[in-house]
Amino acid sequence: MVMSIVITVFVVLFVPIKEAYAYLDPGTGSFLLQITLASILTLFVGIRSFWSNIKEFFINKFKKENKDE
């Protein structure tokens, strides 16, 4: 959470971007929330993928050991 806030503050302050091309106004609140959520959700995805890699590593190791026995 702290990490995502730091990222959000960083990008809000320092990352420039070109004009939006839209007839629909996303609204400032919705706009800023998406930036925050994007950081949080991609962090979740990263953690989940990291966790499943660790799980997979131990499952494979366990299977290998069983095979060796």
Binding site: V15, P26, I40, T42
Partner: protein, 464 residues
Amino acid sequence: MSETKRVFGSFRDPSGFIFQTNGRIYRQVNRCYARAYEQAESSGLFEEAIKKHWLLPFKEVQQVRPLSPEAYKVIIPTLIPFVSFPYEWSFSQIKDAALLTLDLHLAGLQRGMLLKDASIYNIQFWQGQPVLIDHLSFDLADRFNVWPAYGQFCRHFLAPLALMALVDARLSQLYRVYLDGVPLDLAASLLPFKSKLNLGLLMHLHMHAKNQIKFAHQGERTHNLKKLSVQEMTAIAKSLRKTVQRLLWHPSGTEWGNYYSDTNYSDSAMASKRAIICDMLRDAAPKHVWDLGGNIGAMSRLGVEQGAQVVSFDIDPVAVEKNYLHCRKEKETLLLPLVMDFTNPSPGLGFASKERESLTDRGPADLLMALAIIHHLAISDNLPFNYLARYFANLGQWLLIEFIPKHDSQVRRLLASRKDIFKDYTQDHFEEHFSRYFKIVRQQAIHDCERVLYLMKNQLEVTR
């Protein structure tokens, strides 16, 4: 002489608009949308979405003149037999429309595009399933910093679904008041505390509502802020999808939910009723039927068996939900269940009350079925026969109507708790008033029962 006119409700998106000529609907695509159109076509997005029944099929046409010089192309979309609106849909219809919208957005993101708007009015039910009808909704993802339709999606889909699932399914009627979707602060204030324990609702609804209020009057510039990557937009869309997918509504029994197991029809009376209705439907041979009190659609399906497109209306959202789930399970393509209260049918809504057509403006039907409904309208709602006959004459060319006498147990039940002020509720008066607007072509008593079915033909020529 043919008349060409722009469809009134098609004015928001500068990418193009809908117009009508020779009774057909066309869409003009403007030059400013050319790049997005070409990308959607060359990337295979249009083709895939049509193949999956996600996008209404369309064809480009050369022989139809566009309405204005900024035209890039004119396309002709497949005709939708009956246009319906979200305040007429049951929970699962709205949920399926929401999931479809997100799936289209995700399919777009895979090809460097996105849905630039997420209006629930861009979805219609066609052949039993929701489809996107706005062929100008996709745009190039790199034109946008964030998903521009995020707020609209949450107002049009997430907030109403959360309210229906966690508070009361009848809150779908908020669509009638809030045409641009339910304000998130209103939804947040109506939802129970437990909704904050749902991570998806906490992020996309409660935090979203707070953020909107916080920044509403601060006039922050968003032009130079961060641009989300396609992966980040995908993560948000997938999170929304999971949140919507997990919203469930388990309808409990209502007054109509068990109607067919709770009537005074014997097996032979029910068989007789069905046979008479089938005969009458064969006589009138309608292509478009409106069943005004369709319940879970048992009689509506007799119209389908005759090959008609049937809209099966009912006042009860539980009955409509059951009917829709049945249609979905059986992959029925000719039946559309909708919620409608005929004592207060959908009016014209939106700007000048013309953006969303009233029910009457979407008619007339070839045939109206008004089965086991007249006693509710006449006795429960005190509507005089004359009012009913005149209104029905505005809605359809043929009328297949069931008269239920006062001594029928269902009518006695309605009168049990009130004084009988309905001295005119007789078969003679019924025939007299309806004969002012309709010609009674045929009438037949149902076996083993005192109810009578009538087939009537409108004496006026009602046209669309």
